[in-house]
């Protein structure tokens, strides 16, 4: 039975590749990256063995605790990172609980994250080759630690899936989850500040973690190398007890999941509120715009980028606080303009097969393109204007407002035009409707990067005129160049927007059924 489950996981993985060669490319790239990281890690650990055992112990404890945290939190945040062996799918089969648990645990190791963790955990033994007892213990601890990782991730995901069976919670967590991600920079800066202010911050952190379930197992080999036999035994006990408790919790939640299918309570609501549909013109283009706007606010995949608008300035501010020079903040407007306007370049991929409604109703390409661009502009234009002007309020340098807003508006309009063409032609897999915005369909990354980088390159080329004029304006300080940049940005951008809509519309009209086929592949 255990072998069956592992083989099932392998088959699922292999069949995934068959659907698209891009997926295979993505997995190979991911695998190569993982091998590179592993090589670095293990050689680093090997060199650690020449330092004091205390040093090696601290590094292993910190790294190991981080791995535990990662396994516990990442799958929970990106609900269903890997639900291929979702326990709910085994409800109808009478698999004995112990075998199901063991099979799912080992199945969880199949795949890049599992293999990397196992190899890295075994690799930490390299740090202890000068202490034979510690070396043996390190291998044993690696097995315990890897098992704990898998079980830990299963416990946290099954706990969160119980909550996540409510759609509202799922939507909300998807949108809120972006906040720590965008603010990762400031958080890291805060931590490094902490390091700098106190010399023994890391050692004391490691010492604390070593007595917690997160770090205990990782500290055992180090203790043995240092000759602390008692502490090693105590920590091993903590680690084994932690694994046992987690396994027991997992078993409980699995037993519960197998008999209670998820249920979603919904309150019925009568109609009468058409929302954006009554605010937009009653034309096909107006309807597309209204629909897209509703999605910007109601679909977490769009909502996440909406939430990040106010966060990006914060992140950039902290990024610059190291240097103390904030003039770069003046270019926030163009940055937001790019992010938002190019964000709709995958709009049809986000529709997925719901796009069939556009095909069967025979919406013209022009109306479809205009609607989506207008919806994006309703949000992106005010955001760009506010974030262009706001830094000047704090920093001054008002004479640069004309060139910067020229670039911002130029990039916004050009980006909308470019997106109108790209989304009618180059599709790539995106998270499905209802899925977490963080979920990346396996292997779609390669094609996505290609389309996005290509798009960025073309966008820079297309907005080169206003960019060059603005830079001349900034460096010469001559106001005339700045005003020229504003004029060129708005006029050229508007022309490119119209061209993009016409061109993308024509492409759409010719290829709408093929587009539907392309997005339908992502299921």
């Amino acid at each position: 039975m255990v072998a069956h489950l592992v083989r099932l996981k392998l088959t699922l993985l292999r069949n995934g590749f068959k659907r698209s060669p891009w997926q295979l490319v993505g997995v190979i790239l991911g695998g190569l990256y993982a091998i590179g990281v592993l090589a670095l890690l293990i050689s680093g650990l090997f060199f650690l063995s020449y330092t004091e055992p205390e040093m090696a112990r601290m590094v292993v404890v910190l790294g190991g605790s981080a791995a535990f945290l990662g396994w516990a939190l990442i799958p929970m945040m990106a609900t269903g990172v890997d639900m291929t062996l979702d326990p709910a799918r085994f409800v109808t089969y009478a698999v004995p609980m112990r075998q199901l648990l063991l099979g799912l645990a080992i199945g969880g190791l199949v795949g890049i994250p599992g293999v990397v963790t196992l190899v890295a955990a075994l690799g930490q033994a390299a740090a202890w080759w000068q202490h034979p007892v510690a070396l043996v213990a390190a291998v044993l601890c690696a097995v315990i630690a890897t098992l704990t990782c898998v079980v830990l991730s299963r416990v946290t995901t099954s706990a969160s899936t119980t909550l996540a069976s409510s759609r509202r919670f799922k939507d909300l967590s998807g949108v809120i989850g972006i906040i720590p991600l965008v603010l990762l920079g400031p958080i890291m800066i805060g931590i490094t500040e902490g390091f700098r202010s106190s010399q023994d911050f890391l050692p004391s952190l490691a010492e604390g973690l070593a007595w917690s379930p997160l770090g205990a197992v990782w500290a055992v080999p180090g203790d043995l190398a240092l000759g602390n036999w008692g502490a090693a035994a105590a920590r091993l006990l903590i680690a084994v007890a932690f694994l046992a408790v987690m396994a027991w919790l997992w078993k409980l939640s699995l037993a519960r999941a197998l008999v209670t299918p998820p249920y979603n309570a919904v309150s019925r609501k009568a109609g009468g509120k058409l929302g954006w549909f009554s605010r937009m013109p009653g034309t096909p283009a107006g309807a597309v715009a209204a629909r897209a706007l509703i999605y910007w606010f109601k679909d977490p995949r769009y909502g996440a980028s909406l939430v990040s608008i106010p966060l990006i300035p914060v992140a950039v501010f902290f990024g610059l606080s190291q240097t103390g020079d904030f003039t770069f903040m003046l270019w926030l407007g163009p940055m937001i303009a790019f992010l938002l306007s190019f964000g709709i370049s995958a709009d049809i991929a986000y529709d997925n097969t719901a796009f069939a409604l556009h095909v069967s109703t025979g919406v013209s390409g022009r109306d479809d393109r205009i609607g989506r661009a207008v919806a994006c502009a309703v949000i992106a234009l005010p955001a760009t204007v506010v974030l262009t002007v706001l830094p000047f309020v704090f920093i001054g340098e008002w004479h640069l407002l004309a060139p910067v807003s020229g670039v911002a508006l130029g990039v916004l309009l050009t980006g909308l035009g470019l997106s109108s063409v790209v989304s009618a032609r180059y599709t790539y897999n995106v998270p499905l409707p209802g899925e977490s915005p963080f979920k990346t369909p396996p292997g779609s990354t390669a094609r996505m990067m290609l389309v996005q980088l290509g798009g960025l390159g073309v966008l820079v080329l297309l907005s080169l005129p206003e960019l060059v004029l603005a830079l001349i304006g900034v460096f010469t300080g001559d106001a005339l160049w700045g005003w020229l940049a504003l004029l060129v940005g708005v006029v050229l951008g508007a022309v490119l927007l119209v061209v993009g809509i016409v061109l993308g519309g024509r492409w759409y009209d010719r290829r709408a059924p093929e587009l539907l086929q392309a997005v339908a592949k992502n299921k």
């Binding site: 109609g271 509120k273 107006g286 999605y295 069939a356 409604l357 095909v359 109703t361």
Partner: protein, 290 residues
């Protein structure tokens, strides 16, 4: 495939009499549809339709005439090519070969004009499910270019008819499977099309709603509309439809009025005869519990 007509069938000067005998079965190339000046133009005419997905030939030269004003059933086992054929007939999937006319309009030459005549309920596609039911039907109407007042007047009628009035403001993502089917049907009806193409419209729909929907469809046919439904529930098709085509393995095996096709037997018996694949019940000796 070069012999296919490039003009709508209605304009063909030939004077053959169509539709009287059941359309010859099989994947053989039927002659191009040809209708006299007085003969009615079929609501849907399909000639030599074929589609291949990689190695698999999903549809292998389908010919079909759906007379205007008929209630037409399309039956076939799972994987017979029903959905693929209907997707190609409604402009959602480009055929490799063959042509399709809706009331004489070539679907793949003048897609926008043809789509205006059709209401489509595709099977297995998502809906814009972050809209409320009311918004979704409104959206479908506005996408068709209808004016806001007409849409606003028709949406409550449709929601009432589908028994969804109390859930009009609920997001479609929170609908049950049957409610989702019904709201999708409403989006296909909003523009009062001349031809309705419904792929598995009764799947997951409760019996009361199904009966209501059948009444709506019968009224629609009585007033001159044409309905094509695909299903694998033979009983339902036999009771509901006046014409039927049996599809299996990407070919039309038989087509005509229900009475012609079933030839005295029940539709289900005739279907099993045509499609084959019945296994003897002795196969599972060990399944007997006593």
């Amino acid at each position: 495939m070069s012999s296919h007509p490039s003009q709508p069938p209605a304009q063909q000067p030939d004077d053959q009499n169509p539709g009287q005998p059941p359309v010859p079965a099989g994947g053989a190339q039927a002659p191009a549809p040809a209708y006299g000046a007085q003969a009615p133009v079929p609501a849907l005419a399909v000639r030599g339709l074929a589609k291949r997905f990689g190695e698999k030939i999903a549809v292998n030269g389908v010919n079909l005439d759906v007379p205007a004003g008929s209630f037409y059933g399309l039956v076939g086992p799972n994987g017979a090519g029903k959905t693929t054929s209907l997707s190609m007939a409604t402009g959602l999937l480009r055929p490799d070969y063959g042509q399709v006319w809706v009331h004489g309009v070539d679907v793949w030459a003048e897609p926008l004009k043809a789509k205006r005549l059709m209401g489509v309920l595709p099977d297995g596609v998502r809906l814009f499910d972050r809209l409320t039911g009311e918004q979704l039907v409104t959206y479908a109407g506005l996408l068709r270019g209808m004016d806001r007042e007409t849409v606003a007047a028709r949406v409550p009628d449709l929601l009432r008819a589908m028994d969804l009035a109390n859930d009009a403001g609920t997001l479609v993502v929170d609908y049950s499977a049957g409610m989702t089917k019904k709201i999708a049907l409403a989006t296909a009806l909003i523009h009062a099309p001349k031809l309705l193409v419904l792929d598995e419209p009764f799947e997951a729909v409760d019996p009361v709603s199904a009966a209501n929907i059948r009444d709506i469809l019968h009224d629609y046919v009585a007033s001159g509309g044409t309905v094509i439904v695909s299903s694998h529930v033979m009983d339902l098709v036999q009771r509901m439809c006046d014409h039927v085509a049996v599809i299996a393995g990407g070919n039309v095996l038989a087509a005509g009025t229900v009475d012609e096709v079933r030839a005295g037997a029940s539709l289900e018996e005739r279907f099993v005869q045509l499609v084959g694949g019945r296994t003897q019940a002795e196969g599972l000796e060990w399944l007997r519990t006593s």
